[in-house]
């Protein structure tokens, strides 16, 4: 479903020589692509950002045995960033996320089934080097 971002249309951070500069077209941004392209590294940079940006909540495989699904249902006004989504998100919570009008999502995984996304709503990471800095941005996944 093509809903505009409800919390923020961009997210940027810096971690030593790494920069993340994301611009969002939709309320759910699904990042997929090859293994080893930096997805989990970017997640760790955004998790660090969550220490100073209260809007951001980060979930990954370390939350596997925690009550994260109920937490997702309770959040309001958050940018919820989920790595290892193929493991963490079952059909029910995917359906909830698809219709959640209170939060925005950045989801890292392989399988977008159940999130009601069209093909042009999936993205992959692009990385560019300049002056010793590595900058991660989003590009459409083809």
């Amino acid at each position: 479903m093509k809903i505009k971002p409800i919390i923020s249309d961009s997210l940027s951070t810096k971690h030593t020589s790494f920069e993340v500069d994301f611009h969002f077209d939709y309320n759910i941004t699904f990042i997929c692509g090859d293994s080893g392209t930096g997805k989990s590294a970017v997640f760790s940079f955004l998790k660090e950002l969550s220490a100073v940006d209260k809007r951001i909540v980060c979930l990954n495989y370390t939350d596997y045995n925690r009550n994260y699904k109920n937490s997702i249902r309770r959040y309001k006004g958050k940018i919820i960033i989920i790595d290892n989504a193929d493991i963490l998100l079952d059909d029910k919570i995917r359906s909830y996320i698809a219709f959640d009008g209170n939060n925005q999502y950045l989801i890292i995984g392989r399988n977008p089934t159940g999130l009601m996304l069209s093909a042009d709503e999936t993205y992959e990471l692009s990385s560019e080097h300049y002056d010793g800095v590595i900058r991660f941005t989003l590009k459409k996944y083809i």
């Binding site: 090859d34 293994s35 495989y61 392989r110 990385s127 080097h129």
Partner: protein, 146 residues
């Protein structure tokens, strides 16, 4: 050749590993030898510089091996732990191609996840073990099993 297990017919004495990151960091990382080099280079474009260290593809910095991608860790888990079955659902296309190129190992997934490069694989279901040799045949079997 690798063996694909139906989730309905996993032998009682075999464990399924879903959290490949955790398993790799706890158990597989200390088993790595020269065989891991090629796979780390192929999937993550990183270089193994010592037993627990890799050189990053991005800036050449030396990192702990826990920074490998989940897809690469999954492939290494399969290679070094032939007694277990590994869930491959977090593998990207490049890691998936590597999974299906392995000489042996055990995998599963709740839905069909097949490399276009698939050659011969074994499948294990309630009828026992049989060989399959094409993308379409394997995908159809998988869809019926899950």
């Amino acid at each position: 050749m690798i063996t694909v297990y139906s989730l309905k017919s996993v032998p009682e004495d075999m464990e399924i590993v879903t959290l490949n990151d955790v398993f790799f960091n706890r158990f597989t990382s200390e088993k790595l030898d020269n065989k891991a080099d090629e796979m780390i280079s192929k999937i993550d474009n990183a270089e193994m510089v010592s037993k627990f260290m890799i050189k990053s593809r991005f800036d050449g910095s030396v990192l702990n091996i826990d920074k490998l991608s989940t897809g690469c860790k999954t492939v290494l888990n399969i290679m070094y732990n032939p007694e277990k079955i590994f869930d491959i659902r977090e593998c990207g296309e490049n890691a998936l191609d590597a999974v299906y190129s392995l000489d042996s190992g055990n995998i599963c997934c709740p839905y069909p996840l097949v490399s276009f490069d698939v050659r011969k694989v074994k499948v294990n279901d309630k009828n026992g073990v049989k060989e399959m040799g094409s993308y379409d045949e394997l995908k159809e079997w998988w869809m019926n099993e899950n």
